[in-house]
Symmetry: C2
Subunit: 391 residues, 2 copies
């Protein structure tokens, strides 16, 4: 049995997450363990919640990292807000919207689903109709950045409809937080959750969440206890905000790492971080298009953190990803669900969103596709990207 220390190929992570992590974050991760109630650790917790408020662009008091991966954040949102008999309108145009739909009936709540073709966002007019049909939904839930398709779901209109109907707006920002604006306070979103391993450039393991006053009140007014003891925010908030009342032992080292990753974003500033993601995704997209490849998503709905390419006719998806891994040590993602084998998902997230990675990946793709017999104009991808960077 080999230890990972003797084994790690240090991949260049350009898939849909996890993303590359700054050396400072890895260094923070391996700092000595402190007790979860140690005054020093409590200071780190306080600073981490402040930094999370900065990145979520919110003043919400209850803004904390849950002790699980991004999916725990998703589970926690519906599990804390929905009670048996409640109705939830859920937008679905990909795997993660489907996952939200899967959770609703587990809680004894009623699902009203609004869907759309994978690769396009959900139409706000359909959401308006679904809310009317549902009567008084407790929650409207949407995936801001659909990691399975690369679609950015516009939030303005749907949030307005949700709030007009008295519903709480739940937003999955797993692949958008840090990479593009998540308008938590600007739109008064009620429960936003994310993961650490995408645009925050931290290893996977924590789920940052932020709750509006209205969401907190909805939890406080519940008639039944939250079914999950572990994700019960009425107890978790007593540990994370102020009281430090013991709930469970926090994943101390992961909190160090998140603190450092968020500090890096604050040093860069959130606005520069968004601009970098946007610029790099555009340059990569232009490179890909110049190579003769097609993108799945229309320009106005493209994520700045995840570019989704259609696998060209006659090319074997898995073979290309295998060559990228074996010859270039680069990971990109394949498709999930109905898009399996049909797309490549290229994450340009956090620390990974940089010019050198884009040029390298375009050159590697050109080489591999040429070798598989595809007619790719020589140097077209890297040239187009270089032009975009110079503009």
């Amino acid at each position: 049995m080999k230890a990972p220390l003797r084994n790690n190929s240090a991949r260049l992570l350009l898939g849909p997450g996890p993303s590359p992590v700054h050396p400072r974050v890895l260094a923070a991760l391996s700092e000595p363990v402190l007790g979860h109630l140690d005054p020093e650790f409590c200071d780190i917790m306080s600073e981490t919640t402040q930094l999370l408020r900065y990145v979520f662009a919110t003043e919400n008091a209850l803004t904390v990292p849950l002790s699980g991966t991004g999916s725990a954040g998703m589970d926690a949102s519906l599990t804390n807000l929905l009670e048996p008999g409640d109705k939830a309108v859920v937008l679905s145009c990909g795997v993660f919207g489907e996952r939200l739909c899967d959770i609703v009936p587990r809680l004894g709540a009623e699902l009203v689903k609004v869907d759309s073709k994978w690769g396009t966002p959900v139409d706000p007019a359909d959401v308006k109709r679904a809310i009317a049909q549902a009567g008084r939904p407790k929650v409207v839930a949407a995936v801001h950045a659909e990691t399975s398709t690369g679609v950015l779901q516009p939030l303005e209109e749907i949030t307005k409809y949700a709030h007009e109907a008295g519903a709480l707006m739940v937003v999955d920002a797993v692949t958008s937080l840090g990479g593009t604006e998540v308008p938590t306070d600007r739109l008064s979103l009620d429960f936003v959750y994310s993961g650490t391993q995408k645009c925050l450039s931290c290893p996977p393991g924590l789920a940052p969440v932020t709750l509006s006053e209205a969401a907190q009140q909805a939890i406080a007014r519940r008639k039944s206890a939250v079914s999950s003891w572990y994700l019960d925010l009425s107890m978790i908030q007593r540990y994370w905000t102020g009281e430090r009342f013991y709930h469970h032992t926090a994943p101390v080292n992961m909190v160090y790492a998140l603190h450092e990753a968020l500090s890096l974003i604050r040093e860069e500033t959130l606005e520069h971080c968004w601009a970098r993601h946007a610029r790099n995704a555009r340059a990569f997209s232009e490179g890909v298009t110049a190579m003769g490849l097609e993108l799945l998503v229309a320009p106005e709905y493209r994520l700045p953190s995840l570019v989704v390419i259609k696998v060209p006719q006659g090319i074997d998806d898995a073979q290309v990803r295998q060559k990228l891994l074996s010859d270039y040590n680069i990971e990109i993602g394949g498709g999930l669900g109905e898009l399996k084998g049909k797309i490549w998902r290229v994450g340009l997230m956090g620390h990974g969103s940089k010019q050198s990675n884009i040029v390298l990946l375009l050159a590697a793709l050109e080489h591999i596709l040429k070798n598989l017999g595809m007619d790719v104009p020589e140097g077209a991808g890297t040239s187009a990207a270089s032009r975009a960077f110079s503009n």
Copy 2:
């Protein structure tokens, strides 16, 4: 705002967990992130499950680390096994038994509680009666090592009663796994969960669990879906055992750390690790007693990983712990719940269970208690411990 890197006092962790971590484990933690479906990471996952089977002393196929802390393991056990209307007999003689009791009604199941005075284990005769009273309980749940009191609950008889009644035996081994025998296969325990931050000497963040065939079948036969999507073992097992079917992004670096921590136990051998914990707890207990302090738990029920001392009359619990922290950089634990202010909890867990730590803590305690006016015979604690080590 200070980064943890510039801040960390590297405490000597002799409380009820987290425990000190070997430098090799911290080094593994900060290895570069791999993708959660990377073939290299899949090998590390396979090795980790093998190592977990070794430490759990089991052949159970479904032996995996859940992506949360030990409390997530507790939540997962009842959440996966209990359905609405099921009955659960729960043993409680401390905070963690109470927590199990708290979870049962959240799942719509019926609780039959068997308790006992904190500081003593639950009487098997009472368990037998409770099982009979419950009729056909689906589950009997017990805390093997009660971290709030330092009591080791004997499992033989109660497991026999549970199985005779056709119930599944759930065991909390958070503070026992690695520190003393957890008889998973020997007693055919059905669902055993633990945490990484106690005797496994790994940072907090994962919950190793192991399930018998019977427990797996009970999950497969459920009429209703598990209420928690995140902790649904019917899906998690498809990712961890064989198929590698994506469920959620594994906390990759925490898995590296666990792999390394388990490798250290295998190098020492499990039996030597248990013997070391037993020897050191005995030596520390003799030292404490020689100083004139009393232990909470009768010798036959004392945990080898956690020694619980009664705070002597006239001494302020918090003041002593504060002095240990400020003057010696040592963390020990206070009491929880009804034992708040009345006990000190000294963890001698994993990498922290060693002679030098014991001698240092005894000397520090002597010095602090003397300064607070207590009449402590000079050098009695360290001398008694030294004699115990030489025997």
